[in-house]
Symmetry: C2
Subunit: 294 residues, 2 copies
Amino acid sequence: MSRFPPISGTGMIIDGKALASEMEAETIARVEKLAAIGRRPGLATIIVGENPASAMYVRIKHSACDRVGIRSQTVRLPEEARIEVILETIKGLNEKDDVNGILLQLPLPRGRDPAPAMAAIDPAKDVDGFHPLNMGTLLAGAERLVPCTPKGIIWALERLGVDLEGKEAVIVGHSNVVGKPLAAMMLNRNATVTVCHVFTKDLAAHTRKAEVLVVAAGVPGLIRGDMVRTGAYVFDVGINRVGDRTVGDVEFDEVLVVAAAVTPVPGGVGPLTVSMLMSQTATAAEMQMSSEER
Amino acid sequence: MSRFPPISGTGMIIDGKALASEMEAETIARVEKLAAIGRRPGLATIIVGENPASAMYVRIKHSACDRVGIRSQTVRLPEEARIEVILETIKGLNEKDDVNGILLQLPLPRGRDPAPAMAAIDPAKDVDGFHPLNMGTLLAGAERLVPCTPKGIIWALERLGVDLEGKEAVIVGHSNVVGKPLAAMMLNRNATVTVCHVFTKDLAAHTRKAEVLVVAAGVPGLIRGDMVRTGAYVFDVGINRVGDRTVGDVEFDEVLVVAAAVTPVPGGVGPLTVSMLMSQTATAAEMQMSSEER
């Protein structure tokens, strides 16, 4: 964990890459245990069309597969593929024994609703955790396969020794991918949770109270230094292109001197998310094996 | 809507019975439309053992069925019924065409985990909204069959003309039945939502900010007048026996003079919940019909 000269906080930069490597080391051990009994996990990604950002994310995920020893395959569908074709592709992968995890790369091209596609993925292979059955199980407090970004943040907080019970946690952004599932996960750990978003009247009044602050708004520089409580743990989920730079939603330099610790962008939440996807693919393979044994 | 002499709020007592009657009038119209084409909705309740409170709740629900013209039936299982027997009973009701809604009265007797039983109910007949598929669909923002108490509160807020978008909403209690699903429903309507509970360090600091305050803690008199913001809408979900009286979680007389409006206990959230169960039974019957037509 690298450190920065502290002023009022302790100014620690949360090294997402280093934490992700620790997580991957655990995953490698689990993958090799599975491989030793002929059950090396496999991840299949469906990518529809030619979105360059999607292509990049898929490359990043599959390169993580290579690092941890998970087999990966990509199913490419043309830009104009109808929803029926996407659903058929998913059904085919649901039935393949050597595919333990299925990833539908979002967004789908215009006019194709992702909801029925996500609901078509076998919940036991839903390594992204977006299937409504997995989301509902999460909301009810039993976490199995859950969205990777929130779970990566929860994992990092545990690693950093932050016990969420009784903590004031504030989430900025109420998306289905980050904000809402993270709120459920934090409530399951007995944090006091506030979810803010674009309709919130006084954002700073909330963020200033946060002992744990997670920002997933997609607005560059939204969170300034004076909006952060001294000693807070700050996770920046934003990935924004500003000119030729990639920046988060947090004004990093300002917040670093106030907070106990902050994730940078890039190199913070992103690597944690990718490594959590690897971990969940291993989890899916383990769960599928134990359900066969029953 | 009855009114009370206002001091600093407007001191309105939210008449849950009157609102419930309005909702039931709507439900009666829907039920009669279904009955006219030979599809009068039916609700089946499974009750395990002899819990007197459960017996009372089932009586209240079935008397509501009588009022709105929904057929009701009760399946009584003995106290010692094993989980397998409960699951078989549910499967039988799932297959019956004249049962549109299935209610498993909770709590189950000791040693029987309700989770697999709730997950065994056909999601299309899950009028209590506790099936993980319905909970997950709710969390993802598409509300179909959802828990009745939160939905009753949302319905009442709409009736009272309170638009949740941008409102500061605070929920006290993070149960699967009320707090967590209500938080999801309020986020779906773009409120800023804070969920507090027994682990919250400074409850009053949160409740004093609430424009909409929902209390479901099961602690008599938890919310005092000085913990409520002037002009707040306050919903008291608590049902506590104190001596021979039934009281809520809100110190009613103190809060009434501060708030814009408060639900009493009894006669507030309770009747709304029961009427919402009737409404959802009609919804289930309507959805089942339209899915047959497809």
